[in-house]
Amino acid sequence: MIQNLEINKKNISVEEIKFRENNLKTFNKIGFPNRRQEDWKFTDLSKLIEANFKELKSNKRSLSVYKIEKINDFEHNYIELVDGFLKSSNFKYENKDKISIEEYKENKKINIDYSNSLINLNNALSEGGFSLEILSNYRLNKPLLIYNHFSDNVKNKIINNKNLIILNNDTSLNLVEINSDISEHNFILNNHTHISIGLNSSLKNYNIQKCKSNGFFYKYVKCSLNKNSNYENYIFSSGLKFNKIEEDINIEGEQGNCLINSALFLELDSHQEIKTQINHLKPNCTSHQKIKTVLNKNCKSAYQGKIFVKDIAQKTDAYQLSKALLLDDTSEFNSKPELEIYADDVKCSHGSTSGSINEDSIYYLMTRGISRKKSIELLTKAFLFEVVNSIKDIDIKKLVEKNLDRQIYGL
């Protein structure tokens, strides 16, 4: 089925060609992940791809020019990506000497000690993506929006790209990644993002899916946190046919904080999975995860969260909580929490619930003249509200809320 999965050998070193060829060989041996692999037990990607793609080609850089619709509600810097390639960037609100942005170049210093055939595939074929670096002692004045746009060129294509985000010491960045899509066709995005957060630095990363898409997205995020640094990820990526976000986070410095919050509204045959592994490697760090999912009509969702606490990581404060609301009985939610703790003075907890909507609440709202449909919409939004409300930046919160309203109320 997969055709033309050839390595683009132009302008790259012999060493890199070898690296890519080895990875392709591994991928060809294993193929797309399937249920037999523990990390994919809730998601048979191999089967999904077989069912949705008659043919699959590797994506090539397109020369077409696209005008991407920008958000006008608030001032922001931006990066434009089209079909996975960096098209343009604009940092007009910032000191440009403090920011470096360029197309991603293979960086062997970044080790991925993780075996996954999609990463092999990405290593073999990766093209495009971006490298962003914020130099020391600089906190961005305005948020950075990444317009991650997919054109109609991506029909039956697989895009493999990598992004690198480096925040040096004493920096901060609010990053909003907005996926938009004019393609009505099936396509795959296989992205690997590497994030490094320096001393006393903070990255807040928001993922928003602007419209319904026939995209199959796999995003692997590897993040390392230095002393007294902060990483927050807010996931609002509902609307994709398939989406799996995998985060592998190493808290490598004391007083490091990590937060992963997600509010998803899934409908009509969509499939989403969040898998996290938070490694507490130093004492006095926190990690908090709250995943809220609403499933409406024949959807599947899973949350696999693992907290690892190294023996020296005393005074760790970590929790993970997953709540799912199933609006009918055609959907399925799976949760697999894991705690692996080697330190003896820590606070770690996990919880997972899934259930249907509270009929008493519907009754109460209906006695006030509100229709059943509208009552369910109100309660759905109320369920996800907690996560949306945890966003402190008012502009971004409004953007997320608007997007969620569109999904729930069909506005």
């Binding site: 006030r368 003249g369 509100i370 229709s371 059943r372 509200f385």
Partner: protein
């Protein structure tokens, strides 16, 4: 306005109401008293259209049988139930809920939906009458409200929706004397010749403030006695056992 004929209800084959007959005309205030477990709250729930009851007999509202009418339509047509235990709904903003509710009812009546500005003006005025702090309106619906605040919020909803018949299910329970007076004033000031009230209570004290035209005693799922407002005082003295 409301006529209940030989109403029988059961849940899982357990009979709760066993032939209730009641007629309420516009402009009247009726009270239902009765011992615990006599079916008072069931009657209120059934009138509002709550699911889960097997029903026989007739509920006729404004000349139409409404046994099968869904909950929201009954509310839109003018039946209001003030809950004994108003629900806390985290994540739903009180103001947004009130506006959604008011507009649903207005729309059903063929009236124009109210815009945010006029709504806020209206809700401010009505809450002031009930001594409700405006801050409550921007909070999540009933979340962290005291018992009294929840009950006042029910009366606020009643005043906003201007129903034809209001059923108050033990609205006085959990209220202190001041709140009781405010709630009673809220009801009294809503009374017109066109609307009616059905007040369910255990105690005479609410009826000291809201004078009913009739008091009915519900016992074992039936109305066993009907009288004028002095029946309440009598019951307060002698209890239900002598009936």
């Amino acid at each position: 306005m409301l006529e209940i004929k030989n109403l029988k209800t059961s849940v899982n084959n357990k009979t709760i109401l066993n032939g209730v007959n009641l007629k309420i005309k516009a402009g009247e205030v009726h009270a239902i008293m009765g011992p615990n477990g006599s079916g008072k709250s069931t009657l209120a729930n059934v009138l509002s259209g709550k699911n889960g009851y097997e029903i026989s007999g007739d509920i006729i509202f404004n000349g139409k049988k409404i046994n099968e009418t869904p909950i929201d339509e009954r509310a839109q047509n003018g039946i209001f139930l003030a809950f004994q235990y108003p629900l806390e709904i985290p994540g739903v903003n009180t103001n947004n809920f009130l506006k959604t509710s008011l507009n649903a009812v207005r729309k059903a009546k063929g009236e124009k939906e109210i815009d945010t500005l006029n709504f806020l003006k209206l809700v401010k005025e009505k809450s002031k009458e009930l001594g409700i702090d405006e801050k409550f309106l921007s909070r999540q619906l009933n979340v962290g409200f005291s018992g009294g605040e929840k009950k006042k919020n029910e009366i606020l909803q009643m005043k906003l929706l201007e129903p034809k018949i209001s059923i108050l299910d033990e609205t006085d329970s959990g209220l202190d004397i001041d709140a009781l007076r405010i709630v009673a004033d809220g009801v009294n000031s809503s009374k017109t010749k066109e609307n009616a009230f059905l007040i369910i209570t255990h105690y005479q004290r609410l009826l000291d403030y809201i004078k009913p035209d009739f008091i009915h005693v519900l016992s074992d799922g039936k109305i066993v006695k009907t009288g004028k407002s002095d029946l309440g005082i009598e019951l307060e003295k002698s209890g239900y056992t002598n009936l």
